[in-house]
Subunit: 402 residues, 2 copies
């Protein structure tokens, strides 16, 4: 069996570790995660690693080197509800496969390798993302432990039941010598590699993101009796805004902007909409471009509203700055791929966002069918996974040669 076929089989095995029969749902610190850990622990062990679980619930496999220093590899084991089988686990299993190849050849690099299988990146159970990598980066505040899940169980209780000590999360923080770097393999979750016909791509940066909630207030009225010129239809204004957002986004290469949620009140077929609430999500690898575009979109909303006697309120929800991948590591990753290496930004967030707090990061994207993710239809090919394993192996050799 090839290393890639093994990775594919293991993705299937982890997919069966789920809270919901018939679909993949593997939340933080769940029984499903406990079963996944039994497998991943064993696979790490077989690859010559010593394995530990930290307090937040990350599984950490360590493969010693001939010299000092540690290079980190990782991704997350948790999933969204009704997930695909590759978002997260693929990166953990490709990392284990790369270590396995060294172990099979009885080779050790001049530095140790540590595979981090993060406990939570999606935030399904507690509505707070990146729990695993935040703990490693020392950025998980104690207040987070008070969060309550749908069953009323606090995060502290969940950690305790899973076998961790919620009072010692600070111990999960990386200490001692800074790591030599961090690399994560992940499915692209977008259609770019597929449209270019390439198995893998190099990530330049994890895009920054603005999220906001926008409320348009007009005046409800009877759909039959209020003449067009006397209306203050909140949906017409919201529609003009959605169109303007798309135009602004298309004007700027690499920018994506999305109105994903839009709710109309009162929402009856015979009533003029009086109020619309919508969300705007703007992302770009360059924070300046993103901020300028978001400001322009908000200006558009206010200008449209003013022209029609409506009001617009903008409520910021979150802002995340872009995280650049290390030019040094990225250049080595390109070298490991060879001539066909393409670079792309990641529009989605990843554990690398927090790992960048403690070390240089790099990311390798693997082509996924139709760009689909967070969905059972998520699909990657064994061949592309083979390329990813090879690229990761060559990348580690290049680091070792430095």
């Amino acid at each position: 069996m090839t290393p890639a076929a093994t990775v594919m089989e293991r993705c299937d095995i982890l997919a069966a570790c789920t809270e919901e029969p018939g679909r993949i749902t593997r939340p933080f610190a769940s029984e499903a995660m406990r079963r996944a850990h039994v497998y991943v622990h064993e696979w790490m062990r077989r690859a010559g690693m010593t394995v530990e679980r930290d307090n937040i619930g990350n599984l950490r496999g360590r493969y010693e080197g001939t010299g000092a220093g540690t290079f980190l590899l990782g991704s997350h084991l948790d999933s969204v509800r009704d997930a695909g089988r590759y978002d997260g686990p693929l990166g953990v299993l490709v990392a284990i496969a790369a270590v396995q190849q060294l172990h099979d050849a009885d080779r050790h690099l001049p530095f140790a390798l540590e595979v981090l299988a993060f406990a939570d990146e999606e935030g399904l159970r507690y509505g707070s993302t990146y729990l695993g990598s935040r703990a490693v980066a020392g950025k998980l505040g104690e207040d987070e432990l008070q969060r309550i899940d749908d069953a009323g169980l606090s995060m502290a209780q969940a950690i305790r039941e899973f076998g961790g000590d919620p009072g010692r999360i600070a111990d999960d923080r990386w200490t001692g010598e800074p790591p030599l770097g961090y690399i994560e393999v992940h499915i692209e979750q977008g259609p770019v590699l597929e449209s270019l016909g390439l198995p893998v791509g190099v990530v330049t940066a994890i895009a920054g993101q603005d999220r906001m909630r926008i409320t348009v207030s007009g005046e409800a009225g009877h759909a039959g009796t209020v003449p067009m010129e006397q209306r203050r239809d909140a949906l017409v204004l919201a529609a003009m805004f959605v169109v303007a957002v798309e135009q602004e986004a298309r004007r700027r290469p690499g920018l994506v902007a999305t109105v994903g949620r839009l709710q109309v009140e009162p929402g009856a077929s015979n009533v003029i909409p009086g109020r619309v609430e919508l969300t705007l999500d703007v992302r770009h690898a360059d924070d300046q471009v993103r901020l300028e575009a978001a400001r322009r979109m908000i200006d558009d909303a206010h200008a449209l509203a003013e022209g029609r006697g409506l009001t617009v309120e903008v409520h910021p929800m979150s802002e995340r700055a872009a995280v650049a991948c290390s030019p040094r590591l990225t250049s080595m990753l390109r070298q490991a791929i060879g001539e066909s290496a393409v670079q792309l930004a990641s529009g989605a967030g990843h554990d690398g966002v927090y790992m960048a707090e403690i070390t240089d990061i790099a990311m390798l994207f693997v082509r996924c069918k139709g760009g689909v993710s967070h969905n059972p239809a998520e699909s990657v090919s064994t061949q592309d996974v083979g390329v990813a394993i090879d690229v990761l192996g060559r990348f580690l050799e290049l680091i070792a040669k430095q």
Copy 2:
């Protein structure tokens, strides 16, 4: 107390006949309606009328004339949920006030007057509108009696409990000599009279209406990872359609078009909308104008979708032809108002739609504050109600002089 003040007081009394304490909800054949009937019956009697209740539950007050023939006046006593106090009752009470003035002067016109207080126009209880006027027009099919309300009670049972015979609804049909005409006083439910500074207006027609459900299908995707030029965002297309609908509507005087409901799937802030379902409501007093506009809007939807690789499905929900008011009666109504008479179409449906099946109809609109209806904020002024009573009285005198 002036006749107008009496009408206003009676509107308040009927507002207290409700199924829901604190708000006005008076469904078909309800206990609240039974209490309303006790009052209206008494007010009809005091105005010199003999009163009967038919099988569907219309209260009919008859004021005899000196000669043959009957002129009908009416509106409905039922309400929507959390209603205002004037939509419906005002027309019944203004009609009673007009008869009261004849009775007080001991006068009879050359024809009888019959005030019809319809049992149901809004359709709140059984989801089927115009029950009262349909029974009078002989257009209420027996199959309607099988409808079930939220409590599981059939319309036939409700009619029986209210005191009618569901097997004899056909007897409610107007028989014998055709009526001389029908006039209905109703709040405008729109802002036109208010913006013109006029107390009343003459209705030329009850607009025809097209209602349809439109489904836009694109492709959902990750809001961070799918480049703008690779998206098939159903909401962007729906937004372009909403904007196009408004433009088409503004181009045609008297046309109103409304997208009142719009639902986005999956509807998450970080997911590109894959599907949008929306409603379109198009109304105009001239069926040709309405049909041409609706066709044009649907063509726009298909053209927009084709240009972007999405699909649009149009599901007709209902179509109602326009109902013209009688030019003869309308001209007399204008004469009764005098020089300030303005004409406007009714965008909302009224019992006149069915009364037009058996006789000529006319309608008088009364200004309402802010054009608001179907809402506790519904408001009319005593002064305007006084004008309506006077106009109705003069109108009947003009008919009598013919």
